[in-house]
């Protein structure tokens, strides 16, 4: 049986504009982990009806409580409420939900994270045990969070910023192209970030004939596949659902013109 749990915040850190929280999550990881890229559905106070979906940054089974880390930016009422929680407060969390990235045993991937899409890639870095390359992008250098973790957990880390304040001056897809040109041995590209970035990354991967998985966002209701609000248009004209069929999709499945 799936459950919704009260999770205690055991650590909280501010990283630039992002808030990073570590939660004690009972047996949530043990019972529902299905690869990096899943999300949790978090109740943000009594005043807001809808839960907010937040990707898992990293998670681990632990005793007595599994641990999950999330990172988010304040975008509106819900994330504002969440940002005000303190260590020791409890959150009402449903999870782990959805399908994560599929990773081959011993696979080696190009991990692409943009802005607040960076944290979810950390789970991919950990799952691929140092074999992957991370390409992290953001508007400016303060948006590049968790860089030292990626340094530890990846074979290589490349950075791009829109304003050139760190690493490559420009978008991540340029670095993806550069990396795929140099190295033909990736098993795939895994990406999380704003939709225009995902589209560009997917295009580059397709050019190089390399599989690409992307984590999509859509406004959600139930978070479990029952209400059908979180539709994502597929290339074949059908509609899948981000919460249940995703959030991770094969980039070729997605209708990028929707």
């Amino acid at each position: 049986m799936k459950v919704e749990r009260k999770c205690t915040i055991v650590a909280r850190e501010e990283m630039g504009d992002a808030i990073y929280l570590v939660l004690e999550a009972g047996d949530m990881v043990r019972t529902s982990y299905a690869g990096p890229g899943q999300f949790v559905h978090v109740k943000c106070g009594e005043g807001l009806l809808l839960r907010r979906p937040i990707s898992v940054c990293s998670c681990q089974e632990d005793v007595p409580n599994d641990l999950i880390a999330i990172a988010f930016e304040v975008r509106g009422d819900g994330t504002r409420w969440l940002a005000q929680r303190k260590v020791g407060d409890t959150l009402d969390v449903m999870g782990l939900l959805g399908n994560g990235f599929s990773i081959k045993p011993k696979g080696r991937y190009l991990l692409v994270g943009g802005g607040i899409g960076i944290p979810p890639m950390r789970g991919c870095a950990q799952a691929t045990e140092g074999r992957s390359t991370a390409i992290l992008g953001g508007r400016s250098k303060d948006k590049i969070i968790l860089q030292s973790c990626f340094n530890d957990e990846c074979a290589k880390v490349l950075i791009a910023t829109d304003d050139g304040s760190l690493g490559h001056h420009g978008f991540v897809d340029a670095l993806v192209r550069q990396e795929l040109e140099q190295d033909k041995n990736y098993d795939g590209v895994l990406a999380c970030g704003p939709k225009p970035m995902l589209r560009n990354v997917a295009n580059v991967a397709q050019e190089f004939g390399i599989p690409c998985q992307v984590s999509m966002e859509e406004r959600m209701g139930c978070g479990v596949g029952a209400c059908l609000v979180c539709a994502c248009d597929m290339a074949d004209g059908s509609r899948k659902h981000v919460c249940k069929d995703g959030p991770v999709f094969d980039s070729k499945e997605v209708d990028w013109n929707a």
């Binding site: 049986m1 799936k2 009806l49 809808l50 406004r219 139930c222 059908l228 539709a231 994502c232 004209g237």
Partner: protein, 308 residues
């Protein structure tokens, strides 16, 4: 299980449910997802996701927006079609000790007829005829807002549903809901359910775009509860057929209000999104309220409001 001695069972148009809490159509899919959280047999009934004759992909996203104590949705009847429901979903639902209510929307009265025939043949416990879905331009709105059209659809459904009771779901977006309720009663409806969603809109002031891709959508959740209570009360005075009350129920007290206003059973929808266990909690709290009031059965609440 509720920790009271109160008899929770209710009967709605001849269909007896072990408790009066149903889940509202479109908020619970076909039960598979929330079935991972609890035994579906704990519910009185399940109104399945709205079906159409042919499969539909529904409207483009975004399909949901949050409003003060409410949500707007514009799903637009995404569903696999009535045949797929009968082949794949109904057998799954039949694994549980729960009443199954199919919810149908048609583009023409004939489509309603065909669907009723199929569903009656497949043995659903009740058919909920949605004449009020405000999201589909073809027909949806009009049937629910005009008594003569509502009656036509009802007649067609009844004449094809055999022994399966037909419940007509009413739209709140009307000047006088009792006119529609009376029309469907006269046309043979065995029950009415209300309210469907109120039409609303939310605009992102930064992008200046409506949040919903369809611009407007249906409002549900606690915000609409007082409108639902009022309409159930009005309809209860206007017709003799039983009422499935819904709209904003998230706790036992809300359900008790709808029952006192005249509902024989209640549905819980939007509250699920905040709390997957909401229907179970509503059931238990309803039992507690009945017990506190010294009732032996929850059904004693129905219609017992004492207007001034």
């Amino acid at each position: 299980m509720p920790d009271t001695n109160v008899d929770l069972s209710v009967t709605l148009a001849g269909m007896t449910m072990k408790n009066p809490v149903v889940v509202a159509s479109g908020t619970f899919g076909f039960g598979r997802e929330y079935g991972q959280f609890y035994d579906l047999g704990q519910l009185g009934g399940i109104c399945a996701k709205g079906l159409t004759l042919n499969p539909r992909e529904g409207n483009p996203a975004p399909r949901i927006a949050e409003t003060p104590m409410g949500i707007l949705n514009s799903v637009g009847l995404q569903n696999p079609g009535v045949d797929a429901f009968i082949a794949h979903e109904l057998p799954f639902l039949r694994n549980f000790d729960v009443k199954v209510i199919a919810n149908i929307s048609g583009n023409t009265p004939e489509e309603y007829g065909i669907m009723c025939e199929k569903l009656a043949g497949a043995g659903v416990d009740m058919i909920e005829v949605n004449i009020s879905c405000p999201n589909v331009k073809a027909g949806g709105l009009a049937y629910g807002t005009r008594p003569e059209l509502a009656a036509e659809v009802t007649q067609m459904a009844k004449s094809h549903a055999g022994k399966v009771p037909v419940m007509v779901k009413l739209s709140p977006n009307v000047t006088d809901i009792t006119l529609i309720a009376r029309a469907v009663e006269e046309a043979g409806a065995d029950a009415v359910s209300l309210i469907n969603t109120l039409r609303g809109m939310r605009i992102d002031v930064n992008t200046r775009r409506p949040i919903l891709k369809m611009n407007t959508g249906g409002l549900s959740g606690p915000a609409v509860l007082p409108v639902a209570v009022r309409m159930v009360w009005e309809v209860a005075q206007a017709v003799k057929i039983p009422i499935l009350g819904m709209g904003g129920v998230s706790r036992g007290e809300d359900a008790a209000q709808l029952m006192l206003a005249g509902a024989s059973a209640v549905a819980v929808g939007t509250a699920l999104f905040a709390d997957p266990y909401a229907p179970i909690k509503v059931r238990d709290e309803l039992g507690q309220i009945a017990q506190r009031q010294g009732l032996t059965a929850v059904k004693e609440l129905t219609g017992q409001v004492k207007p001034w």
